[in-house]
């Protein structure tokens, strides 16, 4: 009996073109292993550890109590009279509920998010940028920064063949970015970051990428993540100014992913937002450079990846175009309300004197300290392993070591039709029950790993131990030619 929608020709060609990230392959493998485990098949390890993506809570990092408490009360207003909960928690919940339509988290909100929350976000931005004005009308809340980014990219996309929209993206880039561009029908134009300079932005490579892309596509935007994901690089003011001058000269839209702005731990380094730098440059630039910056709950200090909410702030965009942002977000109806509320709590935390303040500060400092210590510890171990070298990170929640793989692994990978670092990760998973991300190097021919280091210290210990055990074993195998 013929099936109806079988032939792959009938699927939207753009969807067919979405590349599978190596991530999904690893996760299916992990699922199989877990299933076997449940069936009782013996495994050489006790349990799977996954540090391939930025999901600190999965690994055991604790959430911020204040946020969880307030959300619990918002969901269950009966708790407003629970005296075991701190007073500021209950007052904030009351205030947030009043801001919700129908005073309930169960009600729809406007598609760009509750106005009250967008105001909180605007206040946060102004405070962070020491006075540079921000207003709620330029802020759009979506279910995670990815969704916001998708909306903007779709807005830009259009054209086919040499007129297809192109977006410059860093190499390496966040692993979810490439499939997103594929789905939107936009061409990814990679510019290489300089590994030797701790993954700094290289203006000459940016220019090269742009020039060579013209003719193949119409480049219209540049995506940058600062702090870098997965590199951990933090741009200084000069670097940011150069990028801004570049986009102004080339009339590109600037897409800035600043999700890890709260995770800077290198000594004497500070995050400075693109918007702030822009506003301290020439009036001409200030008034014309178009910028969209992204932030979300999936950041370091809060790490509420499961709640799914983020926002974008739009600078110097034509109001007619901004109207479309809103229209497109309408098709989602709205971002989950609990996520929106969490944004308010993340960006408007307890103040000194509030009952929850001390706990909040303690929890935040602990996370920051854990991150810094983990980074240092992991960096040392990785650099001590033969065939591995890692640049120090200044911020963010990943380390991105370079892998020098033995020829045998590369051969084997070729025969299997895999990238060598993906094969490495597969073998690591099977032998040690550890899931680490394979690098996103595209065609550069070099290999890297990506591991999330915002995990409890004990877990990091376990991760490093399994990784070095596997890696050294690999080197041994090479010597004994067992591979």
């Amino acid at each position: 009996m013929p099936k109806l929608m079988t032939s792959l020709q009938e699927v939207n060609p753009r969807v067919r073109g979405i590349r599978l990230s190596p991530q999904s392959g690893l996760h299916s493998l992990a699922e199989n292993i877990t299933r076997d485990d449940i069936k009782g098949a013996p495994q050489p390890f006790k349990e799977l550890i996954d540090v391939s993506s930025g999901d600190p809570q999965r690994a055991g990092m604790k959430p911020i109590s204040f946020i969880r408490q307030v959300l619990a009360v918002c969901l269950c207003p009966e708790l407003l009279s629970d005296e075991h909960l701190p007073l500021d928690v209950r007052l904030r919940a009351l205030r947030l509920l009043e801001a919700c339509d129908g005073e309930s988290v169960g009600s729809y909100t406007t598609s760009s998010g509750l106005l009250y929350i967008r105001q909180t976000i605007a206040e946060f931005i102004m405070k962070r940028d020491e006075g540079v004005p921000a207003c709620a009308e330029n802020i759009f809340i979506s279910s995670g920064a990815q969704r916001g980014l998708m909306v903007i990219i779709k807005l830009l996309s259009g054209g086919e063949g040499p007129r297809q929209t192109g977006v410059l993206i860093p190499q390496p880039c966040p692993h979810a970015l490439l499939p997103l561009l594929d789905e939107a029908g936009v061409l990814a134009v990679p510019y290489r970051l300089i590994e030797d300079k701790n993954w700094a932005v290289d203006m000459s490579d940016l220019e090269r990428a742009l020039t060579t892309s013209r003719g193949r596509c119409e480049p219209r935007a540049i995506y940058i993540s600062n702090p870098g994901n997965p590199t951990g690089h933090l741009q200084d003011r000069k670097s940011i100014e150069k990028v801004i001058e570049f986009v102004a000269a080339e009339r590109l839209l600037l897409l800035i992913d600043e999700v890890y702005q709260d995770s800077v731990y290198a000594p004497n380094k500070e995050f400075i937002s693109y918007k702030k730098v822009l506003f301290e440059m020439d009036k001409h630039l200030r008034d014309t450079v178009e910028l969209v910056s992204f932030h979300s709950l999936s950041c370091a200090s809060v790490a509420e990846c499961g709640l799914r909410a983020g926002y974008m702030e739009v600078v110097n965009m034509d109001p007619g175009v901004m109207h479309f942002l809103d229209t497109m977000l309408c098709t989602d109806i709205n971002a989950p309300v609990t996520g929106q509320l969490a944004l308010d709590l993340m960006l408007g935390p307890p103040s000194p004197g509030d009952p929850s303040y001390n706990t909040f500060v303690h929890e935040t400092l602990l996370t920051r300290a854990t991150l810094a210590q983990n980074s240092q510890r992991a960096l040392k171990l990785l650099n001590d392993l033969p065939g591995m070298s890692c640049r120090p990170a200044m911020a963010g929640i990943y380390l991105y070591p370079h892998l020098d793989l033995p020829a045998e692994i590369k051969e084997q990978a070729k025969t299997l039709g895999l990238e060598a670092d993906v094969l490495y990760c597969q073998m690591l998973l099977e032998e040690e029950g550890l899931i680490i991300g394979a690098g996103d190097d595209g065609t550069s021919g070099s290999h890297h790993l990506r591991l999330c280091i915002l995990v409890p210290p004990d877990t990091l210990g376990e991760v490093l131990s399994r990784l070095s055990s596997f890696h050294l074993h690999l080197a041994d195998r090479k010597r004994n030619r067992i591979v």
Partner: protein, 476 residues
């Protein structure tokens, strides 16, 4: 990107959402500032959002469980019903890292919950098997529908994918189709038969559509949004046969399946009917059915959670669906709420009594409201309303005086939009214009949500009548 012409040309075609909501927000703000209005507050019954109209959250159980999942320390200090604690523990155990703050294990959702949903469907359909791997979660049925449409869409001009869509349809649907780049092909429902589906009309619509697009799917909402019509067995079978012979994928939105209140009416799932039609259909017809926590007895619109069940879809095609979902795993809390929705308390559970009460009350309110409102509206000269059998909307037809129609033309608005705007400004009641539901001719309708406390509904009805009589008088 400062010029409008630089925006993706396809998006320029997305029809504008009617901005009554922002007007409502403005008026509310004005009242807060102390401005005098002929009413004390705005009542918004234009969308299927019971909370906005003042209904308390149902499923105290669900809210309690979610609160505990968010902040497990609550268990220490409070005495919650024992089944709340048990459920929370089980659900947290199903989450990655034992926390709601972690991404879901797979892009389709939390495996244990996929299993619960599959069990619910199997039980609902009297044994017709449902498999966890066919269940895909997302943030609301809009999003799941978006994914499937995106999968189907392709082509331009005469090869553009088309989707047969009921007229009237859910007010959020036309925009969605625009955004995905798929052509909306309307098939008229028969108002005089309580908004029933007509097979001949389906054939006509399809034939006409084939001239200017490539129709590949048919969208159905049952119980109907906004009509409240509940399809009978014969209708469902006819649709399935039609879809089979015309090679259309069925997209069945069944979010109001637990809100059927018409006398002697029962919800029948398309899947169940399909499987009782024998292998020649059940092996071939491709179908995706949608459900969510926004509707029915849960009414948790703001949380954004829903699922789709994919039936007879080629595995390779399904993989694409999953790969689209991949970068954005669905939010966790709504999945937990979904689990509670499909796996409610059983007799003997600590929360069973309270829960059953809530459901009974809710269905009773809805039933009473539907009858009261329908009767009331049919008594207003210049208005007529079909009886609703399910869902949360009523969709009365309006007779509008010529002057309103003229004024609307002059202001560049649709007449029903102008009507709703004036109603909002003069009476503080926000209803939905039928043009959002696809009625863009002289067949004027309005949409109102009847899932509201009885007193609120009464207020809405009185104001509506008063306004309607007034404008008819004004223009005589």
């Amino acid at each position: 990107m400062s010029f409008m012409k630089e925006v993706n040309p396809r998006l320029l075609g997305i029809r504008d959402p009617v901005s009554l909501q922002s007007l409502a927000a403005q008026i509310t703000e004005q009242i807060a500032q102390g401005e005098q209005k002929p009413f004390q507050r705005v009542i918004d019954v234009s969308s299927g959002d019971p909370h906005r109209a003042g209904m308390p959250p149902f499923h105290l159980l669900a809210r309690l469980v979610l609160a505990v999942c968010l902040y497990p320390e609550l268990l220490k200090e409070n005495s919650f019903p024992v089944d709340v604690c048990q459920r929370a523990e089980k659900l947290l155990g199903a989450c990655n890292g034992g926390t709601v703050g972690s991404y879901s294990a797979s892009s389709c959702g939390i495996p244990q919950i996929q299993k619960s949903v599959a069990e619910f469907i199997t039980s609902r359909d009297g044994g017709v098997a449902s498999y966890p791997e066919d269940i895909i979660f997302s943030s609301g049925s809009q999003r799941t529908l978006n994914l499937v449409l995106h999968l189907l869409s392709s082509g331009q001009g005469p090869t553009q994918t088309g989707v047969l869509t009921p007229l009237p349809c859910p007010h959020t649907l036309p925009m969605l189709l625009d955004e995905v780049g798929v052509k909306l092909v309307p098939y008229r429902l028969l108002e005089e038969r309580g908004w029933a589906l007509d097979l001949e009309e389906l054939h006509r619509a399809l034939k006409a559509a084939r001239k200017h697009c490539d129709p590949r799917a048919m969208y159905i909402s049952n119980p109907g949004n906004p009509t409240g019509h509940v399809q009978d067995l014969q209708t469902i079978e006819e649709v399935i046969r039609f879809a089979a012979s015309e090679r259309l994928v069925l997209l069945v939105e069944e979010v109001y399946q637990d809100s059927v209140f018409g006398q002697d009416k029962k919800f029948l799932s398309y899947k169940k009917v399909l499987f009782e039609m024998g292998a020649s259909y059940s092996d071939r017809v491709e179908m995706v059915s949608f459900h969510s926590i926004s509707a029915g007895t849960m009414g948790e619109c703001g949380l954004r959670g829903g699922y789709m069940e994919v039936i007879n879809m080629d595995l390779l095609v399904k993989n694409f669906l999953m790969s689209m979902q991949a970068p954005c795993s669905p939010p966790v809390l709504p999945q937990l709420a979904l689990e509670i929705m499909v796996n409610p308390p059983s007799p003997g559970d600590a929360s069973y009594e309270v829960f059953t009460q809530e459901i009974l009350q809710k269905v009773e309110t809805l039933t009473k409201n539907a009858h009261r409102a329908c009767e009331f509206l049919n008594g207003v000269p210049g208005m007529s309303c079909q009886q609703a059998m399910g869902g949360v909307f009523l969709y009365p037809r309006l007779h509008l005086p010529d002057e309103i129609i003229e004024e609307a033309k002059r202001s560049g608005l649709r007449a029903d939009v102008l009507y709703c705007k004036k109603l909002l400004e003069e009476e503080g009641v926000c209803l939905g214009p039928g043009s959002e539901n696809g009625h863009d001719d002289e067949n004027y309708h309005i949409r109102l949500c009847i899932s509201a406390p009885a007193a609120v509904l009464e207020d809405v009805l009185k104001r509506l009548r008063s306004f309607h009589l007034r404008i008819q008088e004004r223009h005589h």
